[in-house]
Amino acid sequence: MTAGTEAPAIGLTHMSSEDTGLGHRGPESKSIVVPYGFWLFVLSDMVLFSALFASYATLVHATDGGPATSQLFHRDLVAVETIALLLSSFVCGLAMITAKRGNMMWTQAWLVLTGLFGLVFLSIELYEFASMVAEGAPPQRSAFLSAFFTLVGCHGAHVTCGLLWLGTMMAQIWTKGFKQHILRRLLCFSIFWHALDIIWVAIFTIVYLIGTLP
């Protein structure tokens, strides 16, 4: 994960008097540019979620006589989900540390654990959705429930995609080894996975905790 070892350049810190700050050295190496581009995507994904949060906050009281937040949500389930996703994020970081040092066995072990915690999170979420639909609170019941399923379901869809990506990365590391471009993809995956946990912090606070205040 190291940058090119060429002369230091690029404007913001003036180390060399020859440096014009105009990028005469050319662009950064791929190991910087690719994760940076992915970082921009993740931030735009957060903008997408902010729109879903805004519509949820606008529609949360539009229950149309149907079930409201405090009747539907179970805090103990949400606590388990939160801890599962946090541990998944943490273990993903440990996998990054071992991957950088080329340790195949530990990297695969940490990645398996990352996926298992992700699966725990996802199955609890699907169980919650299924029991809500069974209780007569499907997405089409009220504007509040449409907004809820869109927001939380969009996060769940991201987690599902992340798990598929995780499986792909494990297979690629296994067959191709710790090559530069594989490590780059793994770094992008870890950015994605940590970002999903950040969005979950907003969801469990705004939707579940504030929604079940007495």
């Binding site: 070892t5 606590a79 970081g93 540390i97 770094l187 940590h194 950040i198 606070t205």
Partner: protein
């Protein structure tokens, strides 16, 4: 061991630190702080010993603090010069997120209040 190699002008977002102990410690500290803040959030939401109307605001503050913990200890966003590009992108993202959320909630709350009761609308139409 210095954290920032002076030869390196930019660092990729999420790239772990350069030393095994310090990077593992960073993740462990991050996990500890995140668990602590999560625990406080769930406690604040269920206790009755705090001032009720302030609890929602307090929960939002705790959530923002936990997002900061994730950014610093898991995504390794720092204030160092090699992180300037990452921080600027993040700042722009946060600006748009706040504009969208606060703008929508503010405008929609006012529109909802200005809609008035349906009966008044009916009366206005009846007068024509």
């Amino acid at each position: 061991m210095t954290e920032h190699d002076p030869e390196k002008l930019n660092v990729a977002p999420g790239a772990p630190h350069s030393n095994l102990l310090s990077e593992t410690v960073a993740y462990v500290i991050g996990l500890g702080l995140a668990l602590l803040l999560t625990g406080i959030s769930f406690w604040v939401a269920s206790t009755t010993s705090l001032w009720g109307p302030g609890i929602a605001t307090g929960l939002v503050v705790l959530a923002i603090a936990q997002m900061g913990v994730h950014l610093v200890f898991f995504l390794h966003i720092t204030s160092g010069p090699d992180n300037t590009n990452n921080v600027l992108a993040l700042a722009f993202g946060v600006l748009i997120v706040f504009l969208v959320m606060i703008g929508t909630i503010w405008i929609m709350a006012h529109m909802n209040a200005n809609m008035g009761a349906p009966s008044e609308m009916m009366n206005l139409q009846m007068q024509h």
